[in-house]
Amino acid sequence: MVSRLFRLRVLALATLVSFAAFIGAACTPDHPQSTFDSMGPVAQRQEDLFVLIFIAALIVFLIVGGFLLFTVLKFRNRAGTPRQTHGNTRLEVILTIIPAIVLIIVAVPTISALFYIADPPSGEAVMDINVTGKQWFWNFEYPDAGVTTSNELHIPVGENIRATLRSDDVIHSFWIPKLAGKVDVIPTRANDMWFKADEVGVYWGQCAEFCGIAHAHMRFQVVVETQADFDAWVAKQAEPAAEPSSELAQRGHDLVTARGCIGCHTIDGIPGAVGTIGPNLTHVGSRTRIASGILERTPENVAAWLRDPQEAKPGNDMPNLNLSEDDISALVAYLDGLK
């Protein structure tokens, strides 16, 4: 009996230690989507609330689970026919009321957090961004600056951001774990969410609502930078696409029209390049990743993408265009210049 209780205690301790180890480990940079490494007030509020509920739940678990095990061990194989008790009304009423009270206590910070995350603090400045979820990438529009980009959201540090979420196809869900919990992106609706980043850095986001074949690959990055860097970035994005700087790139520039890329992609400055089926490529050369975050934008990766977009991201809406290797290197050179 003693040894059994001892073993139980060891078990409980081991559970606690592994939890603590997990939470500690989850804060390191190699957990880019950890919800225990909040970098902004919205995520922080959600994390604090979670930790509170978690501790409450853990206490309840240890008490009830411990009591359960204790009961089983204590009354195991007791001799004789036990007394046939049928219940104890007072005890049961008490045991009904206690959890109700615990829940009422928990409800208070819950409701307050709920209203906190609903809207940015009133009276503070807010920057608006329009987010459009598409099968299977993201478009970001800055209405005040008149700038549109894809898959890489830039925001200034310390500023309240209000994102208005829309979709033209199916339901997606916009989620940047370190900055804010998710809000669904729903056709026929424009949902709002707000967040703020406290530190400069790059944060990962991912579509959280199942949206079809390439759902697993519908990711994005949020680049949080100083106001000055952000302003410079916006100014650059507002410019039309850069002119090709080499002969090879010039050929790529011509191919973009000749091979019909412009039917699906927007490139400001090229006549007719107003397609919206794919991401905006005007400044694709300024981004660190392509294909909604899944490939680093190296020349090799861009070439591989053009060779067969279905290889890296099965099911996405860019078909294999059967480009020749010459064309591919020309296009890679051109796209690389679109800083």
Binding site: S34, L49, H86, I171, N191, A208, E209
Partner: protein, 615 residues
């Protein structure tokens, strides 16, 4: 049409395949339900193991994205509609008449009909693998299910088979409500019913209120896909959120449809192996009823991130937190049942205790989900996957497995091996925790659900690997159970009438029970009727509140005769459903066949006279 009834002579054989196909005996139908559902359970388990293999390491390509989407859609749909619900139905069928002291259910042929329709629906859903299984998730969110985004017939098969399965569920729910309300033995008032019967009754009521909602939603989806309507087609002004409301108004009560039967089973096992009555019977019953009502007021907790606004989210947060109270009441009373008892750790009891332990974890993670602001981080992550498996595997399946070990001696006449049973319990318990506990970590670490692969460097590698090993282990542990069940059924130790010294009426008769159940309808003077009868307590409580017929003098017992009609009607219904995809002529034929068999059903007497048999 009248010829149908007379053209087929009434089946008479009591042995062999045909006797099973035409049976209307609730015990045989129960066994059919159980075996069929268990096979579907194994199929669903295989689907899960394939997914876990794919996710064991980052960036694997064992299965591609589309196959993966089909796998999780089929896994969810199969486990809910083809495994847990019909496994519960197996217990309802086998046990309800035995436990309330009746000779059969109220509508024996309708009962057979439910089974055949269920089987037809299950086959239909699984045949869809041939041409591409449904791949939009078991929740089928619009507009991904619309014909623009889901080409092919996968979603159609999903819609149609769920409709077919809905018919089976509704028919059996009505049957059990009528049986329980009208056929209880003399003296068995409602508050003398075993808790399992109460949970069956509540489940049946939930079914008849929940299924019409999903039926309407599915009809609308079928019209959108086949006849050009736009209920959910966002691009044409339809409302995808309407689907979510309809789906979850069904879907949340469905959660209780899945768990209440297991709670009923556990409420029978715990008293037997504690050798004590259930603690706080009225509290357990009332909390079940309260859950049954409150289950209708929480559906939007599945929609916390939809953008319903803070007021709606606050309301559903509070109702969802509140539903934890009656659930907690049950847990306290189950522990109270064991307290002061003499606990026999036989296999069924191990599963019941395992149920309690795992259900506490699942319940608590459920409360964590109800906190909508922080749930925005867990929604649609592996944290939810962990939670739902603690409730549905740790809860429903553990309860059901315990129930099988518990009643196996009754329906087979033989005991299952205790040694293998205990090994199975520990393997399942360990495998289940290894498979599902790490998913909490994955969710908190930002891993979304329903992704077919992930990059390494997300911090997800370790726990995914552990989870996959656990899942494979869990799958293999089920083989122990199958081996034990098959072997024990054929040459297990003979059980006798009452191997566990149990408390309820089904243990008062031989194992397996005779076809007419009770030689003499028992007279009930209190809860745990059989326990008191055995101890020959001088119970003076009045015999009041039964609702069935007692047989007074010993007349000969008339049992309903076997019939072809339920099977024919079920085939007709499934043909009509196949026709929606294949050809409307087939639909017309199927409908005709259904109507004709129902007419034949109506014309044939419940109990064939000896003249009929001479044809």
């Amino acid at each position: 049409m009248a010829t149908i009834a007379s053209a087929l002579s009434r089946p008479t054989s009591l042995n062999g395949v045909w006797s099973w196909i035409t049976t209307v005996d609730h015990k045989r139908i129960g066994i059919l339900y159980g075996v069929t559902a268990f096979i579907f359970f194994l199929i669903g388990g295989l689907e899960a193991m394939l997914m876990r293999l794919q996710l064991a390491r980052p960036e694997q390509s064992l299965v591609g994205p589309d196959e993966f989407n089909q796998l999780f859609t089929m896994h969810g749909t199969t486990m809910i509609f083809l495994a847990i619900m019909p496994l519960s139905a197996a217990f309802f069928n086998y046990l309800v008449p035995l436990m309330i002291g009746a000779r059969d259910v109220a509508f024996p042929r309708l009962n057979a009909f439910s089974y055949w329709v269920f089987l037809a629906g299950g086959i239909m859903l699984n045949l869809s693998w041939l041409g591409g299984a449904p791949n939009s998730g078991w929740f089928g969110y619009a507009p991904l299910t619309s014909s623009a985004f889901s080409v092919g017939n996968g979603v159609d098969w999903w819609v149609l088979s769920l409709q077919v399965l809905g018919i089976a569920s509704l028919a059996s729910a009505f049957n059990f409500i009528v049986t329980i309300l009208n056929m209880r033995a003399p003296g068995m008032s409602l508050f003398r019913m075993p808790v399992f019967i109460w949970m069956t009754l509540i489940t049946a009521f939930l079914l008849i209120f929940a299924f019409p909602v999903i039926t309407v939603a599915l009809v609308e989806l079928m019209f959108d896909r086949n006849f050009g309507t736009n209920f959910f087609v966002a691009s044409a002004g339809g409302d995808p959120i309407l689907w979510q409301h309809l789906f979850w108004i069904f879907g949340h009560p469905e959660v209780y449809i899945l768990i209440l039967p297991a709670m009923g089973i556990v409420s029978e096992i715990l008293p037997t192996f504690s050798r004590k009555p259930l603690f706080g019977y009225p509290f357990i019953v009332f909390s079940g009823i309260v859950i049954g009502f409150m289950g209708w007021a929480v559906w939007s907790h599945h929609m916390f991130t939809v953008g319903l606004g803070p007021i709606a989210n606050a309301a559903f947060t509070i109702t969802t937190m509140a539903i934890a109270v009656p659930t907690g009441v049950k847990i306290f009373n189950w522990i109270g049942t064991m307290w002061g008892g003499s606990i026999q750790l036989k296999t069924p009891m191990l599963f019941a205790i395992g149920f309690l332990f795992l259900f506490i974890i699942g319940g608590l993670s459920g409360v964590m989900h109800s906190i909508s602001p922080s749930d925005a981080q867990q929604q649609d992550t592996y944290f939810v996957v962990a939670h739902l498996h603690y409730v549905l595997f740790g809860g429903s399946i553990m309860g059901i497995l315990g129930g099988i070990y518990y009643w196996f001696p009754k329906f087979s006449g033989r005991l299952m091996s205790e040694g293998l049973g205990k090994a199975h319990f520990w393997a399942t318990f360990i495998g289940m925790n290894a498979a599902f506990f790490p998913m909490h970590f994955l969710g908190m670490d930002g891993m979304p659900r329903r992704i077919f692969t992930y990059e390494s460097g997300m911090g997800w590698d370790l726990w995914n690997f552990v989870s996959s090993v656990g899942a494979i282990f869990l799958g293999i542990s089920m083989l122990l159970f199958v081996y034990n069940a098959v072997r024990s059924w054929r040459k297990g130790e003979l059980a006798g009438d009452d191997p566990w010294d149990a408390r309820t009426l089904e243990w008062s008769m031989p194992s397996p029970p005779p076809i007419h159940n009770f030689d003499e309808i028992p007279i009930v003077r209190g809860r745990d009727a059989w326990w008191h009868q055995k101890r020959r307590r001088a119970v003076t409580a009045p015999v009041a509140g039964g609702s069935g017929e007692s047989d007074g003098a010993h007349e000969s017992i008339h049992l309903p005769s076997p019939s072809y009609m339920p099977l024919l009607a079920a085939i007709g219904i499934s043909l009509a459903a196949y026709g929606v995809v294949l050809s409307y002529y087939l639909t017309a034929f199927g409908m005709f066949m259904t109507v004709a068999s129902l007419y034949g059903w109506y014309m044939e007497p419940i109990t064939a006279s000896s003249e009929d048999e001479k044809h």
